[in-house]
Structures are given as structure tokens and as C-alpha cells.
Assembly symmetry: C2
Homo-oligomer: 154 residues x 2
Amino acid sequence: MSQALQDLLPPGHPARGCYGCGADNHDGLRLKSYRDPSGILLCRFEPRPTQTAFPGMTNGGILATLMDCHGVWTAMAARFDDEAIARIGMDDGIFVTRALSVEFLNPSPINALLSAQGRLVEEGRRSLTTEVEVFAGDTLCARGRVVTVRVRKG
Amino acid sequence: MSQALQDLLPPGHPARGCYGCGADNHDGLRLKSYRDPSGILLCRFEPRPTQTAFPGMTNGGILATLMDCHGVWTAMAARFDDEAIARIGMDDGIFVTRALSVEFLNPSPINALLSAQGRLVEEGRRSLTTEVEVFAGDTLCARGRVVTVRVRKG
């Protein structure tokens, strides 16, 4: 399997500290997104036992965090190849979330490996919109839409 | 100040374990929502230093978690008075999130006390929709809409 996109970011890059997906944030979820040959971006995530809404169900805020970060990385994956991600400088622009919407369709079990599939669905003049679907096995638990914009420092 | 609504729930109620707002979830955010005489529901929250997106900014997933739980409690507050919350049985229905949308309007500083204001904006046949605005000082950082439905067990 290829390397997780988050792990490609150069050492010291600010996004490596993100609570959702930063490789260097040891308090966070440390989500990992992988390119799939089909063109979608994949993330597998096993919630902690405490990350519940009700007993046995994954918390909606945790699912929203997964949608948010994986949606941003789906935009990143659409615009940058692996080598470009590994060369991103501190002042280069990267994508951030302007808006996020999530539909909770089915309870998402807490003791399952969740699988998130990200795809690019819309390209605007300054924005990329991605869709993220979260499955537990074959069950579609939640669907999200993430509007991202590329932000340059300064 | 009156008691936080989350703390009113009877001991052992499943929602006391919620990762976002459960009083008994010591790994979670333990959000607290208070009725304000103006009719809005208030929640003040100070992110942990690790709950960043980029350095200095609060993570979007954490803000979404705040919107989600406080939005649900805004619906609860609209339908139940304090005494009714304190009497909710294990099998009584409570509100859960069907859909959540968040607009990120301004960076939300990590070292600030964030203030969330929830209000009921729409009543459907089976759903209550609430709006949550998150401020850092006078700056509106994010606005969310939470569609909740009352779910009964069994």
C-alpha cells in the first residue's frame, strides 16, 4: 500500500499538528488517507471505546471530524501528487474547510472498523467540493460534503 | 447560574456517556449547556491546546462536535423543562442528530473561551432544527444548523 498522504507532509509543516489528521498530534485521531487505484481516497478508522454518542454508537462529532479531514485530503489528492505533497513549503497554500455538512443515515457501531471513501464532486473557481461516505461493513452510516478553499499565507 | 442540562440527566442515562457532552465521559469534551433568560441556550468551551487545525486555530471537527451536542441540547431545552430532563427514563425518547451543517466564517483561536449560542429555528412534524453560533469574544467564528429527531427506544 502507498504511504498515507498525511505522512508525506514535510517535517515541521503546520498541518502535521492537526487534531484530526496530523501525524504529529499524539492527542488526536491521527487519521490516515490513502489513494486507491479506483480514484477514490480511502481512510479506515477505528473509534476509541469512549468516542460514543449512545452506548455502542460512534459519536457524530467524531464522524464529522473524519469527514472534515478526509474531505480536505480528498481535495489535496485531487490537486497534488505525492511528490508535490512531500515538497509543500510552509508558505504554500493548502486546502481548508469553508463548509461541512453531514447526514447521519444509520447508526455507526463503535466497535467496528469504519471505512471512509472520499471523492471530488465539484470544482469551483476557488473551491473544491468533496463528498465523503462512511461505511461500517456494507452499511452506509453517514454521508458528508466538504467545501474546501485553498488558502495561501500572507 | 442554573445547572447544566447535561448534569440534570438521571444517573445511568445512556446520554451521560456521550463523547461530546456526557457528564460521565472523562475522555470527552464534557460540554455544558445552560439556559439563558433571553431564551437562547449557552455553552462556553475552552479547547485543549492540542485541539488545533493549524497552530493557534481550533480544529473544525471539534467545532462540529460542539455544534452537534449543543444543537441537540437546544432542541431538548425547547421540549423539556429542567424537571422533565431530570426525570427522563431509559426508554423515553430524546433528540438525536439527523443532519448537521457548519460554515466556518472566521478562524477560531485555540487559546480563547469559545461561546456557543443555540436557538430553535424550525419545528417540523417529527424534527426540531436548531442553529448554533460560536463566538470568540465578539467575532462570529462558525455557524451551524442541526436537524434533530426524537428517537424512542423499541
